[in-house]
């Protein structure tokens, strides 16, 4: 039984450490990600926009296949999980190899083999008796750790750089892990706030009050320089601290972060509109003011006018659902219902401020639904400004930053340090110098040349003869 389990474990390890698996997974993830950029994802797309684009049936199909939320779909998460396992397993395998390399000492190499190295040099002649300590000193001056073995000097530096790429891979796993922690235990919401609003957060023992917010322009310019919101943290009815946040400078308190992320006019939530009312025969009844989700009474007619919705940029989907194309005041429209004194609905309609839209709507409605008792025009609108706050709780943050730090460290080590080894074989009538480095580096070739020159200058070999003459 144990042998069987061991075999399975070994098979799994082989499966997950395969570079082929990594390449297949990377390709699949990349393909799905590509699909996710071609189909708008639901995190930043509204239902009406989907229907406008794909139709009701197309949208339902996409939804069933989870294609509107690819990055949260089970198959994508499954691939990501496999990839993380794969990465972790490969990292483990590589790390073991690096560890074996680390443990493997430099050894004696016969001088005739040393001469076949790419970086190799021989000085012939009678060698002084104090050659060895002098050469060791030169090597040490260049940062080499030196050892001697059977009249051979073994020098090396930067052996640890082998772990650089392992640190990099481990850090990638750490970053993914930190992201996972944030995803599972974190929290993120977007809040629209007006002056004086108090924001309460689930699970937090404090509240945050929006004191005021404003936008600053560049000197002598219409362009926005920054948006700022002054926030006060309130805990147990006591004001703890007040801070003005701006874009790129959030408030952080007890693990929660408050980011300035939007600023604008709250048309859809709180527009205040002015409507002109007419009887069907054209008699003007005057202008009235009301806010969204509320309305006003017209005493002379004994009716109540309810303002159901305001859209700053009116448009219709193919199945005739009204929505706002943008949040700019491009084609403002208001949805109005009129009730009599008994609460019976007399009519409902859209009113527009663009005259051609108003005319189009009225003629269409007249053809479809016949006469209505009143006509309504949208003549004015205002809305309060709002500040948009992104509120997050991000427990994985230190893990992710730690991972990032070592991603950088690992890469730098891998790029700028290469394990360098030098052998110097000293015999009575010859000194053989040979060097080796991971990746054939130009800079090592230069260092090698410099070392050879310095050793020659020591004049430890008398009557030096060129190798060719011998």
């Amino acid at each position: 039984m144990r042998a069987f389990l061991k075999e399975i474990a070994r098979d799994l390890y082989t499966f997950f450490t395969s570079i082929t698996l990594a390449i297949v997974l990377i390709s699949l993830i990349a393909l799905l990600a590509l699909l996710g950029t071609l189909i708008p994802q639901e995190t930043f797309t509204r239902e009406v926009d989907y229907i406008a684009r794909y139709g009701v049936e197309g949208y339902n199909t996409l939804k069933k296949l989870q294609l509107t939320n690819i990055f949260g779909s089970w198959y994508f998460l499954f691939l990501m999980a496999l990839f993380t396992l794969n990465l972790a397993a490969c990292t483990h395998k590589r790390l073991m190899a690096s560890w074996r390399y680390w443990k493997l000492p430099m050894g004696f190499i016969r001088p005739e083999d040393l001469k076949r190295f790419e970086h190799s040099y021989a000085i012939s002649g009678s060698v002084c008796s104090d050659a060895s300590p002098k050469i060791r000193e030169v090597l040490q001056r260049h940062g080499y750790r030196v050892r001697e073995h059977n009249s051979q000097i073994l020098a090396e530096k930067w052996r640890w750089e082998r772990f650089g790429i392992d640190v990099f891979h481990i850090s990638l796993v750490i970053v993914i892990f930190g992201g996972l922690v944030t995803m599972l235990f974190g929290y993120r919401t977007f809040a629209i706030a007006h002056q004086g609003d108090v924001l309460r957060l689930p699970g937090a023992d404090f509240a945050v009050r929006v004191n005021r917010f404003w936008s600053e322009n560049y000197k002598n310019s219409e362009r926005v320089m920054d948006w700022r919101t002054e926030l006060t943290v309130i805990e147990n009815d006591k004001e703890i601290l007040t801070k003005t946040i701006e874009v790129n400078a959030p408030l952080r308190y007890k693990g929660y972060n408050f980011y300035q992320s939007a600023f604008g006019t709250d048309w859809q939530g709180a527009a205040r509109v002015t409507l002109a009312l007419f009887r069907a025969d054209g008699t003007a009844l005057g202008e009235f003011v009301g806010t969204v989700d509320d309305g006003f009474a017209v005493p002379s007619e004994n009716i109540f006018v309810k303002i159901g919705a305001f859209l700053p940029d009116f448009a219709l989907t193919e199945n005739l659902i009204a929505y706002s194309r943008t949040q700019r005041l491009e084609n403002p429209a208001v949805f109005v219902e009129i009730y009599d004194a008994q609460g019976f609905r007399l009519m409902r309609t859209w009113a527009f401020s663009r005259p051609e839209m108003q005319r189009f709507w009225e003629t269409t409605m007249a053809r479809v639904g016949g006469e209505t008792p009143y006509r309504i025009k949208l003549v004015g609108m205002t809305a309060p400004e709002f500040t948009g706050l992104q509120i997050t709780k991000d427990p994985g943050r230190p893990i992710v930053y730690f991972g990032f730090l070592f991603v950088i460290v690992g890469l730098l080590v891998h790029m700028y340090f290469k394990h360098r080894q030098i052998w110097v074989h000293i015999s009575e009538n010859e000194i053989v110098i040979a060097g080796m480095v991971r990746n054939n580096l130009k800079s090592f070739a230069e260092e090698f040349r410099r070392l050879v020159r310095e050793i020659e200058r020591l004049q430890i070999v008398t009557h030096p003869e060129s190798e060719l003459v011998v």
Binding site: T43, P250, V407
Partner: protein, 293 residues
């Protein structure tokens, strides 16, 4: 004189360098099918091939210096308008100029290390395309104050490192494309080997920069500005696809021992993916999303 003037000037400079490098390339020796070894192709031009190469190198060097002056001026102009000390990487015009400055710079380092000038055609050609696009009437050279989201030094780190990495990828693209072309034309083996090695080194050096700029600094900036590291928006996603692609390149090269034509194709495709991340996402994909408001 403002920065735009120097950028115009460098467009001219890069074009000249491109022509010189082209003359240098066309005049380079190829292996004839006769088996006689390396035979120089007859040259109808007045100057020797190596002379054209030297002129091209000097032209490129001078043009990069001219562009550097332009960049410094641009930094001063930006400071005058915005009160921020930033590198010119805050809009399409500036990033194009930055890229057109970085590619020949990176290329010159490789030319100096490898003592080989043929890739210059692509380096200066690309640089000319980008700076010409920036200087064209399609893009405004006006210095605008920074919108709030861009007032962060993480942005500078993010864009400059990402583009720096991509400049290396551009050089690798040039080496790859040239490899494929010369191979078909029967170029000499030593040049092909050098090109293969140069392309690999360019990607091996560019990848860390790209990782830092795109992945690390990008995520940190997103966290500062929007409160999340990663949101799978089209730009981020395509950056990840590009990153995966080059990671793939390095792994098939190191682990599977792919060389020559295979990796040359990957280097060419990789740059296409990188350029799509930049341009395709801005002008094709955002179109899909922008209607959402």
């Amino acid at each position: 004189m403002d920065s735009a003037f120097f950028f115009y000037l460098s467009a001219v400079g890069y074009f000249l360098a491109f022509v010189f490098y082209l003359l240098h390339l066309i005049g380079s020796p190829t292996e004839q099918k006769s088996g006689l070894g390396i035979v120089a192709v007859p040259q109808p031009w007045v100057l020797k091939q190596t002379t054209w190469g030297k002129i091209a190198t000097w032209t490129t060097l001078v043009t990069v210096l001219i562009m550097t002056v332009g960049m410094v001026l641009r930094i001063l102009e930006m400071h005058r308008v915005s009160d921020f000390w930033m590198l010119p990487v805050t809009n399409t015009y500036e990033t194009l100029a930055f890229f057109a400055w970085a590619i020949p710079l990176v290329y010159l380092i490789f030319e100096w290390r490898y003592k080989m000038r043929v890739v210059g055609v692509f380096a200066t050609g690309l640089a000319f395309l980008f700076i010409a696009l920036a200087s064209s009437p399609l893009l405004s050279s006006e210095v605008r104050p920074l919108v709030p989201a861009l007032q962060s030094y993480w942005l500078v780190l993010h864009v400059s490192f990402t583009l720096g990495g991509e400049a290396f990828f551009a050089v690798a693209f040039g080496a790859g494309a040239l490899f494929l072309w010369l191979q078909r034309r029967g170029g000499n083996l030593q040049t092909l080997k050098l090109l293969d090695n140069l392309g690999y080194k360019a990607i091996a050096l560019g990848f860390p920069l790209f990782t830092l700029g795109g992945l690390v600094f990008g995520a940190i900036w997103a966290q500062h500005a929007w409160g999340r590291y990663w949101g799978w928006d089209p730009k981020e996603t395509w950056m990840l696809i590009t990153w995966f692609f080059y990671a793939l390149y390095l792994h098939v090269r190191v682990k599977w021992g792919w060389r020559d034509a295979k990796t040359a194709w990957l280097a060419v495709l990789g740059f296409a993916v990188a350029m799509f991340t930049w341009w395709g996402v801005n002008y094709l994909l955002v179109g899909l999303h922008s209607y959402a408001g």
